[in-house]
Symmetry: C2
Subunit: 129 residues, 2 copies
């Protein structure tokens, strides 16, 4: 299913964050300046692919994500890991542990945090204190 192109992803991210939006709202929140019709062409593609749905309210359509962020995250992670980590999530984990330069203590703290927030999707990251 996913991944999304750059433009599609920008739209999806806004929809994941805000729930339902109409084109104008998407346009003003878009990370770069974009014309309304350009943005709507993204929506049309996403609609055709089934990644978003829309509902008419007044004169406007409200768009919302069909594909869940968590699901896109998983799919994209899988592809990334296949491409760069021999398909092994642990290989990626290993690399992140190295590159983040965490002490053993920090790592254990992080693990406890992970256990606590089991239900919280990674896609709503929180800052460490």
């Amino acid at each position: 299913m996913p991944p999304f192109t750059a433009g599609e992803l920008n739209v999806m991210r806004l929809l994941w964050e805000h729930g339902e939006l109409k084109p104008g709202e998407l346009q003003t929140r878009f990370p770069e300046q974009i014309k309304n019709s350009a943005l709507r062409s993204y929506l049309t593609i996403l609609l055709e692919k089934g990644h978003v749905s829309r509902r008419k309210a007044g004169k406007a359509y409200f768009y919302k994500a069909v594909t869940r962020r968590e699901s896109a995250f998983r799919t994209t992670l899988r592809e990334f890991v296949n491409a760069y980590c021999g398909g092994s999530n642990q290989a990626l984990l290993l690399n992140l542990i190295s590159s983040e330069k965490l002490s053993e203590r920090e790592l254990v703290a992080l693990k406890r945090l992970a256990d606590e927030s089991e239900a919280t999707p990674s896609t709503q990251p929180r800052k460490r204190k």
Copy 2:
């Protein structure tokens, strides 16, 4: 720079793994069935973009990667983390720790492993015993 399209990535992965290959060798190793000329069109694009170089030997060209796997890995990881983890590597780390369901002990062992193989790029993943 990167990321690569699906076709480009398939070529790059083969070049990263095997060093230097000519079109026919790439073709037979390609994950899907692909025509020689289709494959060469990928090579042409990669050549134009500067991601690969080639050298003539006999009648054939041998292609090799210019863009390093590690560098593509970094770039792609960054984009992924920006898109799905609020730009925080630790958020991704947190998620992987959860989803891999490692015990604290395993995690610490993994960390030691990470420390040892500091020099080893993540892109050459190794199996855990």
